[in-house]
């Protein structure tokens, strides 16, 4: 276990360690998908021609692993899929990224991958929603869609022949994310699922779990409303710029997210921070469960990152896995 930045008291430490030990005992041992650490030998029949893939090497007539991970076999190819690795995009992944450059006909995005991704102007729906050729005027107005530093979500379209990564945003659900916060977690904690957009209706919160380990937690906006709102804002800015300045901060506070919604956002964000610090997989169920646990134990938002709740969450995870195993049996 990586060292956590929490100071436990004596009893908390004991409880935490016993919870971790239980989790270790519960984890399935050497199943069909054998896990290996560095220098473990991988059982293969070397007489068949074996293709040595990533994370393997031959030593003294044996195939050994050079990284920690799961042994994967595809026909003749044997490779090790590492546990902790940088995000590797696959076609169709939903990702959250940040615009770092507005270039001719494209935006360049930072997505936690070894290279930057490209979103072409032609591979996204225009705000007016009409399908048409992109004109030079559209190109000039690109900054009205996304600016530098904007957080947006999109889908991985695929790799181009030159090796660059292309994104697309051909739906209303993709686009600019505002009124919320971006969290960064290790990408291996996010598993690819059917649904990455979650609207938590009770809280009025949108949760977008990007496959690249960027997670957006923000105020819910109806699809399509986003664009309208933006237009209004733009008009407001043009008309009322001088007014706004005069009214000052007092007025600005009125446009903020409501306190209840903000509290939900912070609670969910802290649940995600906690789970990722503990190294638990970030599924929607786990996040909601942690949030509910914090309500049940009457823990305030800021105390969610204190030692006691770390222990409770770890114990809760044990319970969850035990009940899962029972259901199976």
């Amino acid at each position: 276990m990586r060292d956590l930045q929490v100071s436990f008291s004596q009893t908390q430490r004991v409880r935490f360690q016993s919870a971790l030990q239980q989790l270790k005992d519960l984890s399935p041992g050497s199943g069909p998908a054998a896990t290996v650490v560095v220098a473990d030998s991988i059982p293969v029949n070397l007489e068949d021609s074996v293709l040595k893939g990533h994370g393997t090497a031959e030593s003294d007539g044996q195939l050994v692993a050079t990284v920690c991970g799961v042994v994967e076999r595809v026909n003749k190819l044997v490779y090790v899929r590492p546990f902790r690795a940088r995000y590797k995009p696959e076609i169709g992944d939903i990702i959250v990224g940040r615009v770092i450059e507005v270039a001719p006909k494209r935006w360049r995005l930072e997505i936690n991958f070894s290279q930057d991704a490209v979103l072409m102007l032609s591979s996204m729906n225009l705000p007016d929603g009409i399908q048409r050729r992109r004109t030079a005027v559209d190109e000039l107005n690109m900054r009205s869609i996304f600016e530098e530093d904007d957080v947006i979500c999109a889908e991985v379209r695929g790799f181009q022949h030159d090796g660059s990564l292309q994104l697309q945003a051909r739906s209303q659900k993709y686009g600019k994310l505002e009124r919320g916060q971006l969290l960064t977690v290790p990408p291996y904690l996010v598993k690819r699922r059917k649904q990455h957009f979650h609207h938590l209706e009770d809280d009025g919160v949108d949760l977008i779990v990007g496959c690249n380990g960027y997670i957006w937690v923000g105020e819910h906006l109806e699809t399509g409303e986003n664009v309208m709102l933006e237009d209004q804002d733009n008009h407001m800015e043009k008309d009322g710029k001088s007014n706004l300045k005069l009214k000052g901060d007092q007025d600005e506070e009125g446009t903020f997210t409501s306190v209840e919604t903000r509290r939900s956002i912070c609670r969910i964000a802290n649940a995600i921070r906690l789970l990722s610090a503990l190294g638990f997989t970030l599924s929607l169920e786990a996040i909601i469960d942690t949030v509910e646990l914090s309500f049940a134990s009457n823990i305030s938002v800021k105390d969610m990152l204190a030692a006691e709740f770390y222990v409770q969450t770890a114990e809760r995870e044990v319970e969850r896995r035990v009940s899962k195993l029972r259901k199976k049996a």
Binding site: Q5, E178, C266, A269
Partner: protein, 286 residues
């Protein structure tokens, strides 16, 4: 650090205005502090302090030296801060130098008092061995390992914890007969004197965002600040030093208000830090 979109900036400012910041803290809450002592075995004292994702290490080394002729009854203390490129890519090469100097100067001002050594948080006369001849030189070196805002507070806390972890060897001096003789010194390997840190102040940085003040700002919040006032406060609640950053001017009443906020917060921070030191020392012993 990457930039923030206007939506995120707005969200952060809104959180501060509504007294509920992005990680659920209120305006005057610190992040959880974690303390480790004795992290550098070859130093006389060392400490590592973590405030959220901010991570700093302070090491204290004592060497025998000659006191300043102008101040024969006082020892010497120097403070240096270094920003590691692991904290931020822009610290690579000479990139971190500006920030390092700024932090060193602020710490020197807050801990060492004026040029004459008056009003120093660290008791310089306790470093004296033989007046005018031998004294201890304390070299305080701090390293920023990871930076997520509020470096100055973390550094000051690390120095305070490091000093409380410092053992200065006991020295017996054999003063020569002639007044000009260099005295003979015998440094003990076994007996150490604990350094008195009750007077060493802590620094509380009050950051102004919009119309409100916050303490312990993360780097995201720091990007939204207009001004920040760092106040160093000792155990008795006395102000030992002050520095101000940021371009915007402040009304004098606002500064007074910020100082009283800092003083109020420092009481809590001191008690938290004291208990953390006790826990860390116990952990280091076992």
């Amino acid at each position: 650090m990457v930039g923030l979109s206007s939506g995120e900036k707005h969200f952060i400012r809104g959180g501060i205005a509504q007294d509920l910041r992005s990680d659920g803290r209120q305006r005057l809450n610190y992040r959880p502090v974690s303390v480790e002592v004795g992290v550098i075995p070859q130093a006389n004292g060392s400490a590592r302090v973590r405030l959220g994702a901010t991570d700093v290490i302070a090491s204290i080394k004592a060497e025998l030296g000659r006191p300043d002729p102008l101040r024969p009854d006082k020892g010497k203390v120097s403070i240096f801060v270094d920003c590691s490129p692991t904290a931020e890519p822009k610290f690579e090469g000479r990139g971190g130098e500006d920030l390092s100097t700024e932090l060193s100067v602020a710490l020197q001002r807050c801990l060492l008092g004026g040029k004459s050594g008056a009003g120093a948080g660290i008791d310089l006369s306790s470093l004296m061995i033989a007046e005018g001849k031998i004294c201890w030189d304390l070299y305080i070196d701090a390293l920023v390992v990871s930076s997520d805002g509020n470096l100055l507070d973390a550094l000051a806390a690390a120095i305070k914890v490091g000093l409380s972890n410092t053992g200065i060897p006991k020295v017996t001096v054999d003063l020569g007969t002639a007044p000009d003789d260099q005295p003979e010194v015998d440094v003990s390997d076994e007996e150490f004197l604990q350094f008195d840190t009750s007077g060493v102040p802590l620094i509380v940085t009050v950051t102004k965002v919009g119309r409100h003040y916050i303490v312990d700002a993360t780097s995201e919040e720091e990007s939204q600040m207009s001004t920040a006032v760092s106040v160093s406060v000792n155990k008795r609640g006395h102000i030992c030093g002050m520095t101000k950053r940021g371009g915007a001017g402040l009304d004098s009443s606002v500064i007074l208000d910020m100082i009283s906020v800092a003083k109020h917060v420092s009481e809590h921070l001191l008690s938290v830090l004291d208990s953390e030191i006790a826990v860390a020392e116990a952990a280091a012993m076992s």
